[in-house]
Symmetry: C2
Subunit: 476 residues, 2 copies
């Protein structure tokens, strides 16, 4: 199977008995993930101290795959591999690395090597890397760079993290609105060395450098040279420089954008965002939602054990506190449990089913909010629907479980208690599952964070209270 | 705030006292989500039967926003709105709609209108829509279409759902490898009417129509006309036509692709996938993971109550079964609970903390698997790390909770029992949380589906067993 169809131009220089194509094929599985066998070969070469082999293996990988490899290696192997990397490719690899691993690697790469690497990167990627440097080292690296590259990085770092300003690259292609298609093409040909490496749209600007339209490069190519830009340009969707990256991603997704101009508050063009950066943002934001719902604060792929403990323990301690409050309800019904120990057996089921029903509603609501499919326009309808679903599910579960309880314990009053408690708790779970994220969103907080601990608390508390309270009234 | 900077060319035709720009501004919130007030205006116009106003409101929206509007409206309003839609814009809107809503709308649009709309869409979008049609109606619609459009749709539908074949569009721009840059540009200009509306790469092909390289349009534009394509082309990443869309998305994300050629098993170019389609896939796949982890099978945004119940109830019933098995452990320790009812109070905390710790590990593992950051190359290292984290978190929680229990009940043996049970259960939660998704992945199953119900079962069961079993040995 051959993935990179174009022959590398320097193929003739390689030793004929070990064709490079073979290593390239071995490096990746069919799904383009790094093959475990290849990672093992790298570790083996490192163990044997076989530098030549190690270089050969690294050369067979694309930069993205080298970055991937770093994630699969332990820190010791990583240091060996980095030492064998072709210095030119460092720039390509740095922008692909996860933050944790990058910080570790940046710590031991000399500052002049870094200055050279950053100079070769696009301004957004370079700023990302610079942001991960220790303050002292960052100052050294920036001091060793060209003025224009340094200014680009400093400007980018001045924007807040996770905003359009940080995501954007300052390199754009703009043309005045009075130009024709032909003039624009001539200009691009003449200035070819000053253009961004890749671009997808030419932005048409007014004399104050405000975007008034855009033209895809493919449209430019096939339009008649004499056509004025103003006649063929399409409307543009401008991105304010301080917009949150999650909103930028939403706009790109919604309008199927490939690139968009970024503007200052006055409307002046200051950069562009391209869709390939957005793909990463979407992955990142979804990952954050999944982890937040599961009670994990952000911890990178390669955080140490302490980092991971720190990202999870606070939620567990919080859960310990809420669970303690919830079980205090049980304490109030000790007498009933002593009289009828069956209550202790059944109560966790009522709490657990409520918890699960609440989590379902919550997950659906959090995604709907993230996708902007739920707001004041339809909140009432969606809430009503969730409550109806909660009642239906509660009723079915109550029927099934009260039947099972009757067959097991032959106690119709216990059956009735379980049934009522289940209907109540699954209904309340739905209420909490939809209202908690809506309330957090209204308060300007991330609905994925802390909703789930609240829902779990409510369903535990109400599960115990409804079941034991009803049992006290009906059964014992 | 003006979003669409280019003036609509037909502005002069509109009534001057209600400038269209105002409505456009009102339609969207600052974050480009549809404004609730605008949705209310649409419903109000529909209530009053004011067709002119309704048309005006709909005209102020881009197709993507009309599709969004449909999601916010209830089915009755939706039918009214669709009836007032400009027929030409139907094609644009259909490809943006969620499946549930689309099916509903397709049911009442006449088949010849649909045939015309599908003819205007790109082949991948048209096939998507055709797939949602009832079989009879699909035959009618296809029969009313041009032969070439019909064949394109039928070919697309012949590929399995959620594969590259379905995602791709058949319209590509290809050039033989012996052409120069200038020849290619001339060809594009000459054949401008046969080209896809937008394209980002020209694929360079060999005489058997197999891609051997690619050239971004922006590169084409600035290369010297006399340069042979073979000299400036870049390697391409080929996508096999039967590749799962999740893998396609992974490859686009990893290599920052804008477009990629899709090839048949013999390597022949059959279409291309562009990144704007991939952005939707990434959203979809992450949403699926979040919902699967929460125990929700796929149910669209606008499923009815019955559809939603069907997407959630099976998981709740399964949870009822596993919970019943887990609590049967409690049944075996009824004697202990009767002797010391405090056990009934504390046991849910042990189970709940285990469940939460397991969910954390699980969420992290599921995302790592989805991002191809976890495989045989580093599984041992990651498992070892998760177990260490589990032991650490368990130890801290045990210390906190046994202290609290001692202060509350003044029973050192009860304190010890709680501490040991917590360490055991949080540790087992970590084992289950990492091994369950790895095992499912190894078996070729989706690790997000059914992992969480298994982890919850294990932590409930072990929580009760460890705590009550130790209590039987140590306390009572």
């Amino acid at each position: 199977m051959s993935r990179e169809v174009a022959e590398p131009t320097d193929l003739s220089e390689r030793t004929p008995e070990k064709p490079v194509e073979d290593l390239e094929d071995m490096a990746l599985r069919e799904d383009y993930a790094l093959a475990p066998e290849f990672v093992a070969m790298v570790m083996d070469a490192a163990d044997r101290g076989d530098s030549e082999r190690l270089r050969e293996l690294l050369d067979a990988l694309r930069p993205e795959d080298v970055a991937d490899l770093m994630g699969f290696l332990s820190p010791d192997y990583r240091e060996v591999a980095i030492a064998h990397l072709n210095p030119e490719s460092l720039a390509d690899i740095l922008s692909e690395l996860d933050t944790d691993i990058r910080e570790e690697i940046l710590a031991f790469v000399p500052h002049d090597t870094l200055a050279r690497a950053l100079g070769e990167m696009e301004s957004d990627d370079a700023a990302d890397v610079a942001d991960d440097l220790e303050e002292d080292k960052r100052a050294q690296v920036l001091a060793a760079m060209d003025e224009s590259d340094r200014v680009a990085i400093e400007t980018s770092l001045a924007y807040e993290d996770e905003t359009a300003g940080r995501l954007m690259q300052r390199e754009v292609v703009a043309a005045p609105q009075f130009w024709t298609v032909g003039q624009t093409i001539d200009h691009l040909r003449r200035d070819r060395d000053d253009l961004p490496e890749l671009f997808f749209d030419v932005y048409v600007v007014d004399p104050a450098n405000r975007p008034v339209g855009a033209l895809a490069v493919s449209q430019l190519l096939r339009a008649r040279p004499s056509t004025p830009l103003a006649q063929v340009m399409e409307p543009v969707t401008e991105i304010p420089v301080d917009m949150d990256q999650e909103e930028v991603a939403y706009i790109f997704d919604k309008y199927h954008l490939i690139s968009a101009p970024v503007v200052e508050s006055g409307g002046r063009l200051v950069g562009q965002i391209t869709v390939d950066d957005i793909v990463g943002v979407i992955q990142e934001e979804s990952d954050e939602d999944i982890l937040a719902l599961a009670g994990v604060s952000d911890a990178g792929r390669d955080a140490g054990i302490l980092g991971i403990v720190r990202s999870r323990l606070p939620w567990l301690v919080l859960n310990l506190l809420t669970a303690s409050v919830a079980v205090s309800v049980i304490g109030a019904f000790q007498g009933e449990i002593t009289k009828l120990v069956t209550l202790a057996i059944l109560m966790p089921i009522v709490a657990s089913l409520g918890g699960n029903a609440g989590t379902q509603t919550l997950a659906v609501a959090v995604r709907a909010l993230a996708n902007r499919e739920l707001n004041a326009a339809n909140a009432t309808r969606i809430i009503r629907r969730e409550l109806a679903v909660g009642l239906s599910n509660g009723a079915v579960l109550a029927a099934v479980m009260s039947g099972a309880v009757f067959l097991w314990f032959h106690d119709p009053r216990l059956s009735l208690t379980v049934a009522l408690a289940l209907v109540i708790n699954v209904f309340i779970a739905s209420v909490a599952g939809i209202l908690a994220p809506l309330a957090l969103e209204r308060l300007g907080r991330d609905p994925a964070v802390s909703s789930s601990i609240f829902v779990t608390f409510v369903t535990d508390f109400m599960g115990f209270l409804a079941f034991l309270g009803l049992a006290a009234l009906i059964v014992t």
